[in-house]
């Protein structure tokens, strides 16, 4: 065998939360792991949802199994992913147009699933959450919380690496190496160098969300998936400090989540053809639905500035015994293609939800361990992720350090310990990201360009959407690693990527802000020379 081809126990395809979690679990069980991601971590559905740590209440009435999974994982993640979770609690409100009888059904279902659900007086709900629609006629308090998917994914990747795993971003799997009904590895294209590479492993795990159906095709097996697109809107600041849901059968735009410095309303739900899953543009119709329904949860949304719109695609999986695809599960689907299709060394883990990623990872890892004859128990339910260990007091307590603590937990220590005053300067003022935090991300968190830097730190995710911070971040990256020539293209790509999300909500103050941004980057920096170039992802 070619000595240049590396040999692993497990290759995990997909750098979303499921893949990252699986890579970590495998590595913690002592396996030699390679994680491959075609663009960047959390590029897909992981980075395109509410950021809601469901209590499970939403599924209690319709899907008890999912609800039970949710509440168990909810309680687990509060401990092991402490720094990614904000314990906000949530409300399920009944509006005059809703059926108050449903509240009783709802509370009973919650209790049956083991979810604490307290009926509270509407007046008490208004006191707890002043932004809530004041015309509510009923309210139930449940243990919802918000969770940061970017941080959660990175913490899993980081810990996988601490346990010996290798991880490569911008490596797209082009095909699988199949020999006598056995998957023996993958071939992947390195997007940055254009080089095709080969990696060998005893087990390959397909953890690609909706794109998993395409990977399965490459392996010659069929996994029926039904892309369900969901659009969301991000508002400029927090309107609410508790999650607000509608107490009715799940429908469009009935969850409002406070995430870090913003709040997010969503989602729509539309079945879309597989060919469109890479098209994430949000339509005016989606924006209208989100606003119209969102305003009913919190009337202030009607006059609150919207920062941007985005969409993601849920990987819904058809049950194996139902070729028509009518029986759709939201539950976890772990397929052993050896028993199912006669294809050894290949596992697909899909379905589920972001917040059940750890269970999904456990299922997939258990199966991989079985195939590899490794007998080691899963420890991810009790071992904290890096950053979520017991907090210690930091000597420096600036706003930027506290903001960084919200993102990196106990790892912030390395960011806060600065000696040079320049390191304390802010790159992103909206989100309080310091030079030191950017340096830390570049050293530790696979930063390849400005878009990846954004996912690691929140640079450019605030009100200005990159207007002021993009150049500063680019300059910090120049000092550290990049060539100045590449940085200009990177900057243009980053600004374009930000504009794509602003465009569907481009009115009022957003337009004024966008005009200023365009003037700076086109007029002043001359970046329009890069117009029409493909964006970095």
């Amino acid at each position: 065998m070619d000595p240049n081809i590396k040999e692993y126990d497990v290759i995990v395809i997909g750098g979303g939360i499921t893949g990252a979690g699986t890579a970590r679990d495998c590595a913690m069980r002592g396996l030699k792991v390679l994680l491959l991601e075609r663009f960047d971590y959390s590029y897909g559905a992981t980075g395109r949802n509410h950021g809601l740590l469901h209590s499970g209440a939403r599924y209690a009435v319709t899907d008890k199994e999912s609800a039970t999974e949710c509440i168990q994982e909810n309680m687990t993640l509060r401990k092991v992913a402490r720094h990614c979770v904000e314990e906000t609690d949530g409300l399920f409100i009944t509006l005059p147009e809703d059926d108050l009888d449903y509240q009783k059904t709802f509370v009973e279902a919650c209790q049956a699933a083991g979810i604490r659900a307290d009926i509270i007086d509407p007046a008490e709900a208004k006191r707890l959450e002043p932004s809530v629609n004041p015309s509510l006629i009923g309210a139930v308090r449940i243990p919802d919380a918000s969770i940061d998917p970017f941080r959660l994914t990175m913490a899993n990747v980081y810990d996988a690496q601490l346990h010996g795993a290798e991880a490569l971003t911008y490596h797209e799997v082009t095909d699988l190496i199949i020999n006598q009904n056995r998957v023996e590895g993958v071939r992947a294209l390195d997007h940055h160098t254009g080089i095709n590479k080969e990696f060998r492993a005893k087990v390959t795990i397909n953890a690609c969300g909706i794109w998993g159906t395409l990977i399965a095709q490459k392996a010659g097996v069929t996994v029926n998936m039904f892309p369900a697109r969901g659009a969301l809107l991000i508002f400029g600041h927090r309107v609410n400090n508790m999650v607000i849901n509608r107490c009715r059968k799940p429908a469009n735009a009935d969850i409002l989540v406070p995430d870090d410095t913003v709040c997010v309303i969503g989602t729509t739900s539309d079945r879309v053809p597989m060919e469109t899953v890479d098209d994430m543009r949000v339509t005016p119709q989606e924006v209208e639905v989100l606003l119209r329904e969102g305003e009913k949860l919190a009337p202030a949304l009607a006059t609150t500035r919207i920062l941007r719109a985005y969409a993601g695609v849920r990987p819904l999986v058809a049950a194996d015994n139902d070729p028509s695809g009518r029986s759709i599960s939201r539950g976890i689907v772990c397929l052993d293609h050896e028993t199912r299709d006669g294809l050894a060394g290949f596992i697909t883990i899909t379905g589920g939800k972001m917040m059940t990623y750890r269970l999904m990872a456990e299922d997939a890892t258990n199966l991989a361990c079985k195939k590899l004859n490794v007998d080691k128990q899963c420890e991810t339910a009790t071992t904290p992720l890096p950053g979520s260990e017991a907090p210690e007091q930091l000597s420096k307590k600036t706003v930027a350090v506290m903001a960084a603590e919200g993102r990196h937990g106990t790892l912030t220590k390395a960011i806060a310990e600065t000696t040079d005053v320049v390191d304390d300067a802010l790159v992103c003022e909206c989100e309080h990201v310091s030079v030191s935090e950017v340096n830390y991300a570049m050293d530790n968190l696979h930063v390849k360009n400005l878009v990846t830097l954004r996912r690691r730190t929140r640079v450019g995710m605030g009100t200005c959407q990159g207007e002021l911070c993009a150049t500063r971040a680019a300059s910090a990256m120049c000092r550290k690693q990049e060539q100045a020539a590449d940085v200009k293209a990177d900057l243009a790509s980053f600004i374009n990527e930000r504009w794509k999300g602003v465009q569907p909500v481009g009115w009022g103050d957003n337009m004024a802000e966008a005009q200023l941004t365009a003037t700076i980057y086109e007029g002043l920096c001359g970046l329009n020379q890069y117009a029409g170039k493909e964006d970095l992802k």
Partner: protein, 417 residues
């Protein structure tokens, strides 16, 4: 889309209308001299998003803000940057120190001090007192407290002027403020002289309390609010008699017109339009042809006008300067509008002295270069700062007008109006 949806973006003090252009930080006098201050943009609209997430994100550095409001003047998007910062401070109150209480309670301290004015002035001027204030009270030793008058303005007015006021056909009420009452009654006397010459009777308010500027700056919001309510009540009864309420202090005026609603939630909607600075009132009367002024032929003076921060915020410097320009013998030099650094009680505090003087430095140089006999400004605390730092005497525009006024001729001109 549903009616009215997203037609306006509304946020408290317009904090979300910030386009992050950072021009406020360019105009911030504190940012210019103190790199430790995060600047109005970061302290205001940027920090607000984090404070909405969790009040723990309040930053002690916000206390470095002077509340000069120059950021609000600079902002092209109408963001009340200064108000956002002040509101954040109000939501994170600290217990005022004895020093802060002393500096803030201008009313109480003033009443006590005027009773024994010669002793107070003598004692405050002593090196040993300054040393004690500096070390124990943390009031900077470089500062000289404005001298206390031996007779309060109110006392003088009641004894010497009140009885004559009813003979006029038109009337104004006068909010004199603490400075005129306790430290410098002459300014009040000057106003009475001008108004009377123009045919206006001057009256005190039923009950006047300190406007509360110093209380707000020192974290004593409840007391400021109570005093604000009293002032508004008194002004309402004056307005009911058809009187405009005039003042001779830009900061008192700004506080009562704008800070009452923005910060203290004191309702002043029915008072605001009837409360104005005396120079603005006079200018508007002149502009409408309702009064005329005559000036002495032998008056000659070269003075420089300094735009106080709150005059800049109100946009009213034009009234004072236009009025001054009417005096034939007055050679008026306009100084570039910038903060003098004192900001009320801010510069009195030992920890702020250096910043305070650094901020004022270029103004002091400009005054030295202007080669004038006096500086004129509408703010009394600017007066203390400029006099201490440059040695040039500082006069209120009203005092200059009173000095230059030909009283007999003015009375004659306004007799049958």
């Amino acid at each position: 889309m549903a009616d009215q949806m997203q037609l306006n973006n509304i946020s408290e003090n317009n904090f979300e209308q910030c386009l992050k252009c950072s021009i406020c930080t360019v105009y911030c006098p504190v940012s210019a001299v103190n790199p430790a201050y995060p600047g109005p943009k970061q302290s205001g609209p940027d920090g607000e998003r984090y404070r909405l997430k969790d009040p723990k994100f309040f930053n002690e550095a916000l206390k470095m803000c002077l509340n000069c409001k120059r950021c609000e003047v600079a902002c092209p998007s109408g963001v009340n940057v200064g108000d956002i910062i002040q509101k954040a401070r109000m939501n994170n109150p600290h217990k005022p120190k004895l020093r802060d209480m002393m500096l803030a309670n201008t009313d109480f301290v003033g009443s006590m001090a005027t009773m024994v004015a010669p002793i107070t002035n003598f004692a405050l001027g002593l090196g040993v007192s300054k040393a004690v204030l500096h070390s124990v009270m943390k009031i900077d030793k470089h500062r000289t407290f404005p001298a206390y008058a031996s007779q309060k303005f109110e006392t003088w007015f009641k004894k010497n002027a009140a009885a004559d006021q009813d003979k006029y056909s038109k009337h104004v009420s006068y909010f004199h403020g603490c400075y005129v009452n306790y430290n410098f009654p002459q300014l009040g006397k000057d106003l009475v002289k001008i108004m009377n010459a123009c045919g206006y009777g001057v009256h005190l308010l039923d009950k006047e309390k300190c406007c509360g500027t110093a209380l707000i700056a020192n974290g004593m919001y409840d007391q400021a609010k109570r005093q604000g309510e009293t002032n508004m009540e008194s002004m309402r009864s004056a307005i009911a008699k058809g009187r405009t309420v005039v003042t001779t202090s830009s900061t008192c005026t700004f506080t009562m017109r704008d800070e009452y609603t923005h910060l203290l939630e004191v309702d002043n909607h029915d008072v605001r339009d009837h409360l104005t600075l005396a120079t603005r009132f006079l200018f508007q009367l002149l502009d409408d042809g309702k009064i005329k002024l005559a000036f002495r032929d032998d008056y000659k003076k070269r003075v420089a006008y300094h735009t106080a921060c709150h005059m800049e915020r109100m946009g009213w410097a034009i009234y004072s300067t236009s009025l001054l320009k009417m005096i034939p013998g007055l050679d008026l030099v306009m100084l570039e509008s910038q903060c003098c650094g004192i900001s009320g009680t801010y510069g009195f505090k030992r920890e702020n002295y250096e910043t305070s003087q650094k901020i004022g430095d270029s103004l002091f140089n400009a005054i030295a270069e202007a080669d004038v006999e006096a500086v004129t400004t509408d703010c009394e605390t600017c007066k203390w700062q400029i006099e201490m730092s440059t040695g040039t005497p500082v006069l209120n525009p009203i005092s200059i007008i009173a000095d230059a006024l030909d009283v007999e001729k003015t009375i004659e001109l306004n007799k049958n109006r």
